[in-house]
Amino acid sequence: MEPRLKPIPAFYCVYLLRSTVRHSSLYIGSTPNPTRRLAQHNGKVKGGAVRTSRLSLRPWEMVCIVAGFSSNIAALQFEWAWHNAHLTRHISSDDRISQATTRVKVDRRTGKTRKKVGRPRTGLTEKLSNLHLLLRANYFGKWPLEVRFFNEDVFRSWTLWTERAEEQISQDIMVVLDLAKTPEDDGEISSAQRPAKRRKADLIGNGGIEGVDPTYARFQEPLQKLKDLTDDKSFKAVCDMCDEIIHVEKDLFNICLARGCESLTHMSCLSKKFLDEDESSPLVPTTGICPSCDTQLKWSELMCALSLRIRGQKEVNKLLKKRNRGAAAVAAELLEDEDSSDSEGEEDTEPVKVGGLVDVNADSDEDEVASIASMEPVEPLPQKLPRLLAGGIDPQMFSIGVVIGDSEEER
């Protein structure tokens, strides 16, 4: 398989949703755009999940996200493991908190009883402890993840749990309470910007779910920097590590993400350097110091930028079109663009970016617990759509379908 010719997603998170009405109602999902997804769950935007569609439970709040997944597959794997903590191999049986329950089903017609393995009902604490276990697992533990809490209560529960836990999660996984800052209302709205866009730009980076920037806007500056460098014909890219020429067209190289730093390095050279600096991981570096500006760089961010450069020409072009007015503003603009393309009914980039897998079990009933796998190819869905259309179904349905394909958390 030429698995992904798509760049590493700008943002991908697995989230924990909680009903504000009934706190025991929880939901785990994943998304590349939590703001939009939350709106979907709350019925403000089309494409929510069945399990969160009950009006009596709305509105839902996103109490916690685990972000930093480097692919949709990674995120979905984590989501499944979290959702099926009673089954996942990533939690050893000794540590396992959630145990599978046995449910007896009685067939109404035949009267026969069937025993089925069921997903245990888990409360917030269990969910959090399972999250803790998963973040301690070998597999997920070294992923470049971060945990953000958007609710103080939940964060308190988390800290309580982590204090009790025998083992701590990796230091590389950042856990923060990221509450939305109340924006200082300066009262004036610049005429140059539309209020909505302005509002978005203000929110991004200011905590809370709305503060999450799900775009590549943060890479605009380095990309522009690199473009300026390579546009200069006389420029010869030389690796800061090995002093050899970097072939911009065919080599894998990084540019420092720090503002103003134009350090270029071969990916292999930098990786070697980072790995040498940090012996904790023999294979993939986590962080390292830029050889030129001494800024601490996250390897995952470097890779994201690199993959964006070599695989996401479209996104790069989009980014470079925007005026550089800060990441938040660019992100707001990009989101605006996305929204407008959403409202046009078809969004061609997102569903592709999401990839070929959808977790269909995420919000389904307890029955599917017996099936170990959580993923099923999403292909059937797009195939269905034209058929639905052909069947004379309301075009609205189509847009719903698209949103479904787009909202990868559940069917």
Binding site: P3, E249, P282, S371, I372, M375
Partner: protein, 852 residues
Amino acid sequence: MSHVICLSSSPPRVFARSPTRVELSSPVPSRSDAANGDKEPSKLYRPSARSGDGFSSSFTTARHVLGSRVGAENVPVHSPHKHKFKVAPSENHGVVGFQPAKFAKPLPTSTESPASIGTSLPKADWEDVPDCALIKILPSDLKKNKKPLRKAALNIKKAPARRTDWTPPRYATTWDESPDSKQADFGSGLAQFSHNEEDSSFERIANAKDGELTKRRRINLVRTTSDIPVLKPTAPKSGVKKINKSRSKSPAKKPLTITGLATSHYFGEEQEESTPMMQYLVSTQARMDEGEASGTFETKIKKKAAIKPNKVQPKSRLRSPETVLKTLESQEVIFASASQLVRDDSPTVLRDTLEAIRQSEEHLMSDPIPTQQTAPVSVESNTPKTGVSRFRGRRGLWLAADRDDDDALLHVDDAFDALVFKDVFAGKDALIEQTTTKPRSIRLDVASDRPKLMRNDSEVFDIDEVVTPTLVTSDWVFPSFVKRTYSTVSRPPSSERVKETRQAPQKPSILSTSAPAITKPTNPPLEKPLPTKPDYKNWSDEDLKKQLKGYGVKGMRKRENMIKRLEVCWAEIHGVEILPTQLPVKIPQHGDILSKVHDFAARPPAKAKKLRAKKNKDVNEEVAESAKTKRKKAQETSNNDKTSPKGFKNDAAATESVVDIDSIENLTMSDRVTGIRTFPDDDFLEPSTAAVKGTGVKAVTTQKQKSKPKPIQRLLTPPPTLPAREIPPSSPGFEDLPLTRNADTSSDIPSPQPSTFDSSLKSKILPALKYVDPQDKLRNHQTNLTWYDKVQMYDPIVLEDFTLWLNTEGFNAIGEDGEIDANEVKLWCEEMSVCCLWKGGWRGNKKDRGGD
């Protein structure tokens, strides 16, 4: 015009009811009601044709008997006067009294006379009845009309009450002879009112009655049955044409059944197609008259064959027998059930289906008691009967089709089979061997030779002679015929053969079938010096490794292993040495060989692991395998001549000859005939046979040795159904390995054979991954990521691919010779926090690997 009069002694009860106003009332006032407020709701009467009353439309009332103008309202007899009930033109509005439009009668037609009314009921039939009902109401109107019918209607006045429940059928219930005139009669206002009703009621009549409608149908039927004589070669083909014309009148029906769907593709050509087909059938039948009973074959074709229309369809439907035969030859015969034909009209799919059918047939055939033994010798063996003997019910029909009543393989089909079936099997190219490179234009000659062929049949021929003598007489030699004739070494001269088949000959047939390059009796194979197996034990480790590499097998640590492996490889490639001496050899069954051929095509690139597994297998399987490889090789060369997928066309096929399928068939058949019981599993050749076989195989091997081991040339025109598989460039010599020989190729990912995997290799993954090829600089790193690049870039790792790479390149590069299981790799990935997944999703394609 035929009429049906049903008389009943007592009218159904319902008819006795008198209508009440309530019954008649309609929520919508009729136009006439609105016009003059008249109470007569005649329009609201239900049409008699409706069965709402519980009466079939053929019911009659007692009035049929009672009155001279019987209200035959319920007898939907066709009346030519339906226009009588048509809406009167709009001037009727001006009529003083109420004139219900429906019953407004135009001028009586000439056919109607008072006299006829009494006697011939249907003419007057129902339309008169309403008049009776109306008499009171519309005297003036009636008077106006001054029809003789009116008088007759007055006679019925006796029982007016009876009619009350009766509703006048709409005019549409009548048989409409001239739709145009009807159209003209339509009043503008009521046009829609009655028009919709027309069709349904019309149909109802058509269905309910054996009236004129069905008569018409019958005529059609008669005509269609007349097709049969038409199809006879002597019959004029214009007859077919006629039918076509008549058919073309009726609108094409949408096919509703699967069969209909299947044949719908050909429907247009069906008539034309059937002609050449039937021609062929008849011609073959003629041949059978000469003593070959190949009837089943034809009947089979008749039943199941759907003939793909040739692209070069002649413009005219009339064709000379020659052309027809020519067309027939170039046609692809596809055998399949109708549903299969519907499902996919891709010829390859159907071809494959055919393959499958053949295979399964083979299974049936491996019946321990050959039917030939149980079946009595058919008396009709020399008679021109076409059917299969009913005593041979056990035999698969497909096979039965191939044989005459004596169970001898029909060679009649050579001309047909060789051409057509070659195409059918063209996808299974391993079965096709190139023998001659005759120019393609010769093909035309074949066709023109056909009549000769048939002419020669006037003498009584042995089946084999059917083909050969003709060919001898013709100045052109049909390569495939020749090939066929000599394809089985053991086959005696044809006339003897038939005898042999009857007498259960002593000579066991020879297994030359497994070796496609058959030794021709006239041209015995050149005895090449056999290669001697090198004594690997004396070789140095280095040489051994080199040699192994040459075979595409990875180097091994242990010397003994290497030697073992080399020996296996050598045996595989040179095929034979072990075979006759060491183990009894299983007679390759048709199905086996077929399946193996298929497997070969579908098999993944050879891996050393497979070789390892091979050790455990029977050597006799290797025989088949080697034979298969050889065939494959031979076929490759032939394939090279094909330049395009069109190579499957007959033209290309003409330059090749089918050997294997038929000779294999011959073999199994002759096995039966000669009494060699072919058990699927435990039947082995007698030593003598094996020896013969050994030589036969040898002959092939010697041929093969001449050609240096080359990389497997992918088929230029791989059958579309075969999965296109990449040959990893990293496995240089694998092409020479006959390798996998059984169906376990289904696991194209490293099949978990824990014993063969070195678990200690897990620690070697990291170095293998990190190893940098010094010559690596040249490649485009952005497009060709190394696995380490992928890992570092957080690409999800596809475990199957990664494992494959490790087991080939990865470990090779660091000098490791083991192989690792994908599950091990997965564990490693999980330990290293590398995002990994199975190719087929987490569930995996084939096996449940457990866990998430």
